[in-house]
Amino acid sequence: MRLLVILTVITITACTPVRFNERERLSQPDMTFDSSPLQGELESDVYSAREGATGVFSGGGGGGCGCY
């Protein structure tokens, strides 16, 4: 938990404004966190069915299926 907070604060305070015309590399598919709309969802289904935790790197948690 402490590591996450420290990492987040360092990362956010280190950021600088990035203009529209500087985002050529960021616009490529591999620079989005979920480049395929279903890949993250499917992985989340597999992990949440076999692990006690939910909502890891994705939203929701615990409803809509017969698992925990």
Partner: protein
């Protein structure tokens, strides 16, 4: 004039296709996507891993189909279907083969879920979405509703989103010995806040907090616990409050990129979990071929009522190894290729992948993934 415009459009499209430009995605674009998975968990007819008293072999085939149609400049509609075939130990099998129960699939191994959604995005980058879903499986029915809000700031360098979901579920009370009781409700309320921030022209980060509250029948009705010389039902508290925070960072490295993720989870059943993940995106053929190796570490401290077996029945008890203490190491490899599509001028993305998950309690599993993504 119209003919000249059409000719110019065709020429630009043809040039783009010839150069193999990968289409840049817009969240409202019309798309069709499919993702399929074959999941295999082997327990060696019980006793090999997880809980030695439970038969935990499982084979699952799952497919997700997504169609999104852009209605106009600011709206899109989505239709999603999820279907599963699950083969695992069931109470039907238990009665016939005297095996213990880990999953209730019975003679009807199917599960399906439909979801209808609508998205809106204004010119000043405010987003709003609604969705509703219905799903059903052998021992479970679920109705869900969701709402999402988002806003981009600072030339889209900052993106903030909120999602809220409600599930109103019904659990069929089928016990491990085949006896039945009246249906029980299970309700889930969940919310997620996320913040995505562009840090530099080569890096972006995302952090999220997910909170959910559940009440009702939260145990798995057909699970059992060994108590002395007999077998008793699993029982759990009827309220569960869960929180997860996650941070992800993505960094471009020339043509390639790397993604790091950390997450921490806890709930009022005393389950604590930590996740660390790394993914590398290796570009080949000018980015039309992407190789994505990944590694994920998971550590879990189990629920306070988890036990392999009891001498005498406790008020709350579970022998489900997924609620116990374990570490998990997962490694995967995904290959994605952008190729000319069958019925669209845009390039189509094909995926094939394999993942292996090794647990410290020896309840290991693997899954194969096939994916197809078509910008329409």
């Amino acid at each position: 004039m119209l003919l000249i415009r059409a000719l110019i459009f065709w020429l630009i499209s043809a040039m783009a296709l010839a150069e193999g430009q990968i289409p840049s995605a817009d969240e409202l674009d019309s798309i069709f996507a499919f993702r399929g998975v074959i999941y295999q968990q082997e327990d060696g007819a019980g006793g090999k891993g997880g809980n030695p008293d439970l038969e935990e072999d499982a084979t699952i085939y799952e497919g997700i189909w997504l169609y999104q149609h852009r209605l106009n400049d600011s709206q899109a509609a989505t239709l999603r279907f999820t279907g599963d075939l699950v083969t695992a130990a069931s109470y039907d099998d238990a009665r016939e083969k005297a095996e213990t129960v880990s999953q209730a699939t019975g003679y009807n191994p199917g599960r399906f879920n439909f979801e209808l959604g609508w998205k809106y995005r204004s010119y000043d980058q405010f987003g709003f979405g609604l969705h509703a879903s219905y799903g059903q499986e052998y021992a479970y029915r679920s109705t869900g509703y969701g709402l999402s809000l988002s806003q981009s700031f600072a030339e889209e360098s900052t993106y903030i989103a909120a999602q809220f979901q409600v599930f109103d579920d019904t659990v069929r009370m089928i016990r491990f010995d085949g006896s039945k009781e009246p249906d029980e409700p299970r309700r889930t309320y969940s919310g997620t806040l996320s913040w995505t921030q562009t840090l530099t022209p080569l890096s972006v980060m995302s952090m999220s907090w997910s909170h959910s509250e559940q009440n009702g029948m939260l145990a798995t009705s057909f699970n059992s616990v060994v108590s002395g010389t007999e077998r008793v039902f699993e029982t759990t508290p009827d309220v569960r409050v869960r929180d997860t925070i996650s941070v992800r960072l993505k960094q471009a490295l020339q043509q390639n990129s790397v993604q790091l993720g950390l997450s921490y989870y806890e709930d009022n059943w005393d389950i604590r979990a930590a996740v660390a993940e790394v993914r590398y995106f290796y570009h080949l053929d000018n980015g039309r071929l992407i190789l994505e190796p990944s590694y994920r570490y998971y550590h879990q401290d189990g629920a306070y009522f988890y036990t392999a077996a009891l001498d005498a029945p406790e008020r709350f008890r579970s022998s489900d190894p997924d609620l116990g203490n374990f570490d998990g190491h997962s490694a995967g490899l995904l290959l994605s290729a952008w190729q000319a599509g069958w019925f669209t001028q845009s390039l189509t993305r094909y995926d094939i992948g394999v993942n292996y998950y090794r647990r410290s309690d020896d309840l290991n599993f693997y899954w194969l993934t096939l994916g197809w993504y078509v910008p329409l």
